[in-house]
């Protein structure tokens, strides 16, 4: 099913292509991760925190903004990677026929798929890096463990990028991305311990949250930024690795079916 001879470091050339186009509008690309955390902190820190007060998480008390700051990082990772391999990859695949052009060179479909996922992870890690800087300025990040956020963002980005590309492989038209966003991204955004600890959820809902990759990424960013956690961090890392590998394989399978005629 997967031809190992078709996988080489050549995928890096496709990754570089995406970097070149990213650099063209780097100012725009950097504005979002710079301003987004400010927006959330303003809304929650000024408006919402008064209602909530402090949050008890992992056996310690945190201000509400400190509690959600790491979750903002994780959510940004999800959005950056997922939107890159859904809308952006779909445009490259379907409208721009970029992959068709690449397949007339020594590149393989495997390398193109890997490059798209690795690129989305890179983009997510870059956004996380910028946000980390902003959040550090507000004192929401503990160091040196906070630096772990960047490699963790890359791992989480690979997981969300892989499932995004899997959707790109199966979805008939670009409008239909609304469906995985509504059914997958939005529930995850709300129920992954982002805005309230999962320990507050009723018993029956907890396993559901535990199945979400975003929950594990939030756990890991909180562990890095706050030094506290609800689950075993290593298990969360393992979960994300398995998730990324599984959906990369599925993305390859369905993208190959879609592109190679």
């Amino acid at each position: 099913m997967i031809d190992t001879r078709a996988i080489s470091w050549r995928f890096f050339k496709v990754w570089k292509r995406n970097l070149v186009t990213f650099q063209k509008i780097w100012k725009v690309n950097f504005i979002t991760p710079l301003l987004e955390p400010l927006l959330f902190i303003a809304a929650f820190g000024l408006g919402f925190a008064g209602l909530v007060g402090t949050v008890r998480y992992g056996g310690a008390e945190f201000s509400y903004t400190a509690f959600i700051a790491p979750a903002l990082l994780a959510t940004a990772v999800m959005n950056n990677a997922f939107f890159e391999t859904t809308y952006a990859s779909f445009v490259r695949m379907y409208y721009q026929k970029t992959f068709d052009g690449m397949l007339a060179t020594p590149l393989s479909i495997e390398e193109i798929i890997i490059a798209e996922i690795v690129w989305s992870a890179t983009k997510a890690a870059a956004a996380a890096g910028i946000m980390l800087g902003v959040l550090s300025a507000f004192g929401y990040v503990r160091y040196p463990s906070g630096l772990l956020v960047i490699p963790l963002a890359f791992l989480g980005g690979a997981a969300f990028g892989a499932i995004g590309l899997f959707f790109t492989g199966v979805i008939p038209t670009i409008e239909m991305f609304n469906l995985p966003i509504f059914l997958f991204v939005t529930p995850m955004f709300l129920f992954s311990g982002t805005f309230f600890p999962v320990s507050n959820l009723p018993m029956w809902a907890k396993p559901l949250a535990l199945a979400f990759p975003l929950y594990h990424l939030v756990e890991l960013t909180r562990f890095s930024c706050l030094g506290r956690h609800e689950t075993v961090p290593l298990l969360s890392v393992l979960y994300l690795v398995v998730f990324a590998v599984l959906f990369s394989a599925l993305a390859l399978l369905f993208m190959r079916r879609r592109l190679i005629k």
């Binding site: 186009t21 068709d100 052009g101 690449m102 397949l103 007339a104 060179t105």
Partner: protein
Amino acid sequence: MQPIIEVQHLFKKYHDVTAVDGISFTVGSGEFFGLLGPNGAGKTTTIRMLYAFSPPTRGIIRIFGMDIAREWRKIKARIGVCQQDNTLDPDLTVEQNLIVFAGYFSIPSKEAKARARELLEFFALSGRRGAKVMDLSGGMIRRLILARSLINRPELLILDEPTTGLDPQSRHQVWDRLEKLKASGLSVVLTTHYMEEASQLCDRLVIVDHGKILVEGSPADLILKHAGRSVIEIGGPDQALRDYLKAHEVPHDDLGRRIILYTPDGNELSNAVRDNFCHQQCTFRTGTLEDVFLRLTGRELRE
């Protein structure tokens, strides 16, 4: 000498549709080879198998003496492909398109820049080096795709309808460049709908229909064999002409309001027709590849 391309008993099936139905051909070194056929004849499917984009259902393709199923990467490094669709990168400039593409062939960036400059010069695009692909005209886009397909200095160039949709000026400019490439000894496989293009450029060609090869030969030989050196088109034919043609067993196509006669040269038939049957409108002309094509593949629409 070893052929550049050897295709043996090639089949391609999609579910229950057979797009390519057992074709075999070879292309020699330095040869300009045409693959002609109506829409849906299996040209693009064949071409895609030649550059290892689609895997064949059955059959063997050897390029540069290597089996494409196993050594696709080595083969793809040595061929240039000009696809039918515009696969240029709209996010990049004209020059970046060439340089980034060179990267896919692992050409070092300094070398890629030099080659890009050279190719832009050759295709008269130097002035648009920094332009966005979106801002180029149709002719420029084609030339840029051609330039890009030469970035790896290929030994074999595969062209899938390189001039479709171009205005006559742009088309002639592309032909001029292809003539130059041909003169340099490059081996080329071309598909096209323009018979004039095939006549002018191809050393040898095949006409395919319904996934099968109908004929093979040089344009001149095919015209001589399947259309005749001279052709007479008669408008408003009457029954007398029809009877005459039937009696003398003259090869012709009866289109109702027009009859096309395929006559050997210097035949008294031409004179007889001229004297007796040219009531309304008569055109005497030489046979063309278009005559061959229409005679062999029929005149009904393909959609």
